[in-house]
């Protein structure tokens, strides 16, 4: 009897499926009780808006990670695309700026993908080097200036609403649906999962492994660029130091906290959305409790450690930490 109870309480992979969702609900209830300001439409919409840029890149980043890769350059692409779009929106035109920013993101993603697949460099190193190069590019573009695009069309993208909800949040919804569909329903998503769980098997069953992996980086670069452009239009200003490693940390944290395995092969975009909301609520709650925002990254880092070690712990099944 006692043993049965212990066995029932032991964490299992099946339960872990919903650990993120469960955590989110608990946090939601706790915050509702702890702060009267929390449970209002405005506050919740604010949480969504404040985290939409992280969410957009995290949705695409989920595909990279499920395919067994990782993209540490999203923060740099975010910055470069943001700066480029602001610069062109000032000098040339709003439409050109937005398109060029997004296209640059896809191109840099392609570069990452080629270094990883054709160059056979480990994704970690390739995208770390990419991050340094792209940050350098953003610095050259910005030339130590604070760019402030004031054209109405540009700032509208980040600030205007449709049905009472900001465009940036709608973009997050679109990204979640599009990448979610791609990963769980489309043939490409199936290939992504096969590549992530067993490259050799994928190759033998006729999947073009290099093309699939490369494409995930293109999508990740594209999404990070959209996020950067949206964030810049929201803020109305761009500098080369936006995004960066803190942004990468938040994106990876959202994916890991949602429960997607960082070792590849399995995961889902809806999980990532849960991770984004969880991190968003944590930061929002800390703000409502008057904790200095200086500490937000501290908690993000801690959550990554908890989420990843929890996943590893449960996957190893027997409940042993050490061997």
């Amino acid at each position: 009897m006692g043993a049965d109870v212990i066995r029932a309480l032991k964490p299992r992979a099946g339960l872990l499926e919903f650990a993120g969702l469960f955590g989110l609900l608990v946090l939601f209830v706790v915050l509702s009780l702890a702060s009267s300001a929390f449970l209002s439409k405005d506050n919740l919409l604010n949480v969504l808006q404040a985290n939409s840029d992280i969410g957009i890149a995290a949705c695409a980043g989920t595909l990279v990670i499920v395919a067994g890769g990782i993209d540490l350059s999203v923060g740099a692409i975010y910055a470069l695309a943001g700066v480029l779009s602001a610069k062109l929106a000032i000098s040339t035109g709003v439409g050109v700026g937005i398109l060029a920013g997004v296209a640059a993101g896809a191109a840099l993603g392609l570069l990452n993908g080629l270094v990883v697949t054709a160059g056979r460099v480990s994704p970690l190193i390739a995208t770390l080097a990419g991050a340094i190069v792209f940050t350098g590019g953003a610095e050259v573009l910005a030339d130590q200036e604070l760019l402030t695009p004031e054209a109405a069309g540009f700032v509208e993208l980040g600030r205007d609403s449709l049905l009472g909800v900001k465009y940036s949040v709608w973009l997050l919804v679109v990204a979640a649906i599009a990448f979610g569909f791609l990963l769980s329903r489309a043939r490409f998503g199936r290939e992504v999962r096969v590549v992530g769980s067993n490259q050799e098997a994928a190759r033998l069953s006729g999947v073009n492994v290099g093309r699939v992996r490369c494409l995930t980086y293109v999508l990740s670069g594209l999404a990070a660029a959209v996020a950067g452009v949206v964030a810049v239009s929201q803020a109305g200003q761009a500098q080369s130091n936006i995004g960066g490693i803190p942004y990468v940390l938040a994106v990876i944290a959202a994916i890991a906290v949602g429960g997607t395995s960082l070792r590849g092969g399995e995961g889902a975009v809806w999980r990532t959305i849960i991770g984004v909301l969880f991190l968003g609520l944590v930061n929002n709650g800390l703000g409502l409790l008057n904790v200095d925002p200086l500490y937000n990254q501290f908690f993000t880092g801690l959550l990554i450690l908890i989420a990843v070690s929890g996943e590893i712990y449960v996957r190893r099944g027997s409940g042993r930490i050490a061997t």
């Binding site: 990419g130 050259v140 940390l249």
Partner: protein, 329 residues
Amino acid sequence: MSTDALAANRVGAGLNGRALLAWARDYGIVVALLALCAVFAVITDTFLTERNLINLAQQSAEPGLLAAGMTVVIIAGEFDLSVGAILGFAAVVAAFVANEAGLVLAVLAAVAVGAGLGLINGTIVTRLRIQSFLATLATQFVIVGVAIYLTDSSNSFRVNDFLGLQKFANSELLGIQSKAWIALAGFVVVWALLRATRYGKQVYAVGGNEAAARVAGVRVRLIKASVLVVSGVMAGLAGAIAVSDTGVAQADGGLGMEFTAIAAVIIGGTSISGGRGSVWRTLAGVLLLAVVANGFTLVDISPTYDQLFQGGIILTAILLDALLKRKAR
């Protein structure tokens, strides 16, 4: 020429191509460093002056120490993205201790804190089995968070007796400040550790082939945890230098320096997949990055191009490394 001779020639050319690539990886860094120095010596009057070269050496002290430690970590097949954060944390602790108990204890405290944080990293990597780059990406921000907390959320902490503390980093020997000598000593120690001790051999073995090392009786997890302690100690020492140099400890002051350290290791030609490399290469890598930044300033190229250029060199080094690995197969 007979067909045999042609074939032999072709084989020779293939070998030569490979040998050339291998040579480029082994000594490319030295050639590149010398070439850059030569270029800057010719096109500027100021580069090849005693004052400028001494400045170069002194400015390379902090990134140099981080890079020396990072070399050991990368040879063991791991990564440490938290060294910049450890530097800031150690600097804050050193400033506290300096105000209470003086210079010597402050330096010892910084090193001890570095070792302790490295041990925490090592424990997380080996016990919780989180990949080191991910674990240290996360601990980086946890460490900075605690360091900021230690400064009462002000992010910086001032030393009372700056003149006294300055002795550690800014005393002069042969006209060169002690921080450069300390960094050089760090390189020599790491070099001896890797070359002349059993521990060094085990680090190479673990990075080269973990399973084989385990079979051969190497305590793999102990080695992996210990390399993170080594890089923590180096970062702690760099933190002591930082605070002794400026009199102010900044909690997040080291953030970003981990990239310079990794860049120096990679540019030097130490293999990023572990098992191969040496610390003199890293020293050359550190100097190369410093010469580029210094030379760019001297010829009036805007510092905004520094990082782009740095990234370009790193990317080249990485692709060369990958190309060589494929050829070797």
